[in-house]
Symmetry: C2
């Protein structure tokens, strides 16, 4: 029965998971949704300055994979909120492993919740990169 | 002092780790090295059929990041063996998280060690995809 399933590359769970989230951005979107962000505007406003076309594409792909659920929270103009499904929330385990590895092996890395406002660029309480993200959106 | 460190996107350990291995192939190379593969020929011969130019690029990047150590095991012609550094081996934790998530959330996925020869294509004892990988190399 299992042979009827078509895998993109192989039935290996690592390969199959990377087929869904194996890129530089998808797991950052999952990270932000886990941290309570829900709107497009909030998601685009992250330190990494995700390009808007990539954010739109990743949200679409995560939704198609059943990791993200999209729902309208406003009509005229319609606006959407994004939330993780149960499967999406379960990726928190992968994120935690990445956090542990990064903090141990890449000097100076620290989770966003560990970055105090005083350390942010400009010291205005903005998260680092917020300015860059805003500039990117203004283009 | 920490502000002197230049991060590719942000000091977030998830983002910084994905800057190194956030793609569809790098962690599969790490998976294979953890499973005891060491030569280019062994690495190219995986079920996913990694294109040779991508394998060469990923090995170079993993070596530059200090995750893989390359050493000559033969002269004339010189041939290299690849092994994980301590940092590279530590990515096993991330791989295990991906395995757990994949097995739970993508029906039918199973680790390569769980695939018995009888289940392989052609039933010849080859791993699935080996034929495809060979064909890719022959191009």
């Amino acid at each position: 029965m299992r042979r009827a399933i078509e895998y993109q590359r192989s039935p290996c769970p690592v390969a199959s998971t990377l087929d869904l989230v194996g890129d530089k951005w998808s797991l950052l979107v999952v990270r932000d949704l886990i941290h309570g962000k829900s709107t497009y505007g909030e998601l685009v406003d992250s330190p990494e300055g995700i390009p808007t076309n990539i954010l739109a594409d990743r949200l679409k792909r995560l939704e198609a994979a059943g990791l993200v659920v999209k729902s309208a929270y406003q009509e005229r103009p319609v606006r959407f909120a994004y939330a993780l499904s149960e499967k999406g929330i379960a990726l928190g385990d992968v994120l935690q492993a990445l956090v542990r590895w990064g903090k141990k092996n890449i000097p100076g890395t620290r989770t966003l919740t560990e970055i105090r406002p005083a350390a942010a660029r400009g010291g205005s309480g903005n998260r680092p990169g917020r300015i860059r993200a805003k500039a990117a959106r203004a283009r």
